[in-house]
């Protein structure tokens, strides 16, 4: 199948206060086909959200800029497109759900207004038709009494409801690509499951492609078909989800998978200590030093890891990894 969204050699740079330039995303490649869900995983500060903003064309400029690369939607180069063309794409062909449902809706407009605004803008619907579409969308995301809710303000809704409204807003124009940036991080576990079910259900109906950004391997296992693991602005591993979960190659991926807590069948059984990856993600100012960025935290790091950046190699069928361990021992 041909790719719907293609990201090739994407690099994003930020000017720092001290005059230096930091590459927060470095030579990132991935692609996405219609109806597919791609998971992007990594800890906070790995460049996941910045990748999303780059696709949306919302990288804060200045101090940031897309330094290099291609982002193509159905063959159309977005980075080279005019600002007005990008606005047409934004919210219509590619839309986004953010991780803060409590603050992502404008407090002074009704939710009907805010959902309807998108379709009025992109599809030229009248105020009345837009309102009707808003009611339909609220019904689609399983909000009870949508005819009544449509005239309510965000502060009258709970967090889970607000995230549903955000989803309704993002899907109102039936986008080809939906970017969900940690859509459930701020929500209760039970609500998380509902939101994931909702996203899957809506994806089946509309055959949108979804990019799910998360740090939760559990969410990936549930939602995604394909996974990209990011660390310090680089892709360190990419594979289909089953392959990734059963046969992780990169020590960082293994660490992330080990971090997921498991419920024990018998409460009396001795509980395993929850694993963690020692250390923290390098700060923006520390990026761009020689060697593998994960080396300082890696239990299996060799001398070479500190000096040279590992190339991306194909470790198994449709499974890419950037780690010296796999280059040396094929």
């Amino acid at each position: 199948m041909t790719a719907l969204l293609e990201v090739n050699g994407l690099s994003v740079e930020f000017d720092l206060k001290d005059g230096t330039v930091s590459r927060v995303i470095n030579d990132l490649n991935f692609s996405l086909t219609a109806g597919q869900t791609l998971g992007i995983v990594g800890e906070s500060g790995c460049g996941k959200s910045m990748t999303a903003l780059a696709i949306m064309g919302l990288v804060p400029m200045p101090p940031g800029r897309v330094a290099d690369g291609v982002i193509a939607l159905a063959g159309e180069d977005l980075l080279g497109a005019s600002e007005s063309r990008r606005r047409e794409v934004r919210g219509n062909d590619v839309s986004m759900i953010f991780q803060e449902p409590m603050t992502s809706l404008n407090p002074v407009y009704t939710i009907g207004d805010q959902i309807g605004e998108t379709v009025r803008l992109h599809q030229g619907l009248s105020r009345r038709d837009a309102r009707e579409r808003a009611v339909d969308m609220l019904r689609a995301v399983s909000i009870p009494a949508p005819e009544k809710r449509v005239d309510e303000y965000p502060h009258q809704l709970s967090g889970g409801m607000r995230q549903r409204v955000m989803i309704a807003m993002a899907l109102a124009c039936q986008p080809q690509v939906l970017i969900a940036d940690e859509p459930t991080t701020a929500l209760d576990v039970t609500v998380q499951a509902q939101i994931f079910d909702l996203l899957k259900e809506l994806q089946e109906q509309t055959s949108s492609a979804i990019i799910l950004i998360t740090h939760d391997m559990g969410a990936i296992a549930e939602m995604a078909q394909r996974v990209v693991v990011m660390y310090a602005g680089r892709k360190v591993e990419e594979a289909l989800v089953d392959e990734m979960l059963t046969n992780p190659k990169h020590p960082y991926t293994r660490g992330l998978i080990a971090c997921v807590p498991h419920l024990e069948a018998k409460p009396s059984e001795e509980r395993k200590v929850l694993t963690e990856i020692p250390g923290v993600v390098p700060s923006v100012a520390e990026l761009g030093r020689g060697g593998c960025p994960f080396a300082p935290r890696c239990a299996e790091a060799m001398d070479r890891c500190h000096d040279e950046m590992p190339p991306e190699i194909i470790a198994a069928h449709d499974h890419k990894v950037a780690c010296w361990m796999h280059v040396m021992a094929p």
């Binding site: 949306m56 919302l58 990008r86 606005r87 047409e88 794409v89 934004r90 919210g91 219509n92 839309s95 986004m96 953010f98 803060e100 603050t103 992502s104 809706l105 404008n106 407090p107 002074v108 407009y109 009704t110 605004e117 998108t118 803008l121 992109h122 303000y153 502060h155 955000m166 807003m169």
Partner: protein, 327 residues
């Protein structure tokens, strides 16, 4: 609590406040040194002891304080604020005559300060370290440091002798002036300098305020959402951001209405504007107690109405404020 009840409650508070204003002002002016009877007599060129006693009796000045107060409140309740001792006119008539020019001056200044201040602030917020931002900071500092009467006097000097393009005194050109549309033009021409003087400080202040508030709002998540919808920058700024950013400006405008009103006293005197401020100044000089009491009462009334309107505006702008104070 719904809106009518909220308003009724506010009006109830306002009435209590007005009563307090009346009692307090009457008491304060009573405590002030000087004898009203002697002032009245002084106007007519002096008189004998018998004459003074007669005046005291006629005006009820020989009664104990609390009776005088009750008499005054009783008359005010009937809408009678007494008779001006100096202008020889009923106080209400006198005040209504002067209230319009003052309100014209104050409301125009406030309007200009809010509208231009907000827009300057919005544009400055787009470039927080740009030239406009720095200019606004300097202007705000100057506006705060310069007393209103000084700015007024400087403008009078500038426009009376150096560049005589604006009139520096009065509200119209008198009986020889134009009528109809020409008159409106004439008043606008005359009010330019007083309005500029009075609005400068507030303009600087509101532009600072809205700049800060706008910068805050532009960093909000819902602004990112609005951009992610593909809305143009104009709609993001003027629909999504401005309505949120303008709230502090509305709050301050309501709070400062009283200050603006008292600022008008100084400006009116500098520019001989025939308003309440000039009248207040005159009646203080002439010890015209009934007029002064009336002016203080109506000023309080205007400020209370302004606060009530601010409250309503706030409810209109921000749906989160539904109930006001919870009972």
């Amino acid at each position: 609590m719904n809106l009518p009840i909220a308003i009724a409650r506010r009006v109830g508070y306002a009435l209590i406040l007005l009563l307090a204003v009346l009692v307090l002002n009457f008491t304060l002016l009573h405590l002030a040194p000087g004898d009203i009877a002697e002032t009245i007599v002084g106007e007519s060129g002096g008189a004998s002891k018998e004459m003074l006693a007669k005046i005291r009796k006629d005006y009820g000045l020989d009664l104990p304080f609390h009776e005088q107060l009750l008499n005054y409140l009783d008359r005010v309740a009937q809408g009678d604020f007494g008779h001006s001792l100096f202008f020889d006119q009923p106080v209400t008539e006198l005040i209504f005559e002067k209230l319009v020019p003052t309100l014209l001056l104050v409301i125009s200044s406030l309007f200009i300060a809010i509208v231009f201040g907000t827009f300057l602030g919005v544009f400055a917020a787009r470039r927080p370290s740009g030239l406009l931002s720095q200019l606004i900071t300097v202007l705000a500092l100057l506006g705060y440091a310069l007393p209103v009467f000084w700015t007024g006097i400087m403008l009078v000097i500038l426009f009376a002798s150096l560049i005589p393009i604006f009139p520096t005194s009065g509200m119209d050109s008198g009986p020889l002036g134009a009528s109809g549309v020409g008159y409106i033009w004439e008043v606008l021409h005359h009010m330019t300098l007083p309005v500029v003087t009075l609005s400068t400080i507030y303009l600087a202040f509101y532009s600072r305020l809205s700049r800060a508030s706008m910068m805050d709002v532009l960093g909000a998540d819902y602004i990112r959402t609005a951009r992610a919808k593909g809305l143009s920058e104009q709609i993001v700024i003027f629909k999504h951001a401005l309505r949120n950013a303008v709230l502090p400006v509305v709050t301050f405008a309501g709070l400062q209405f009283g200050a603006l009103f008292s600022g008008a006293v100084l400006v009116e005197n500098v520019f001989s504007w025939p308003g309440l401020g000039t009248l207040a100044f005159e009646s203080i000089l002439r010890r015209d107690t009934p007029t002064l009491l009336g002016i203080l009462f109506f000023s309080a009334l205007v400020v209370i109405i302004a606060n009530l309107l601010t409250d309503l505006a706030y409810r209109l702008i921000d749906p989160r404020i539904k109930t006001g104070a919870k009972a």
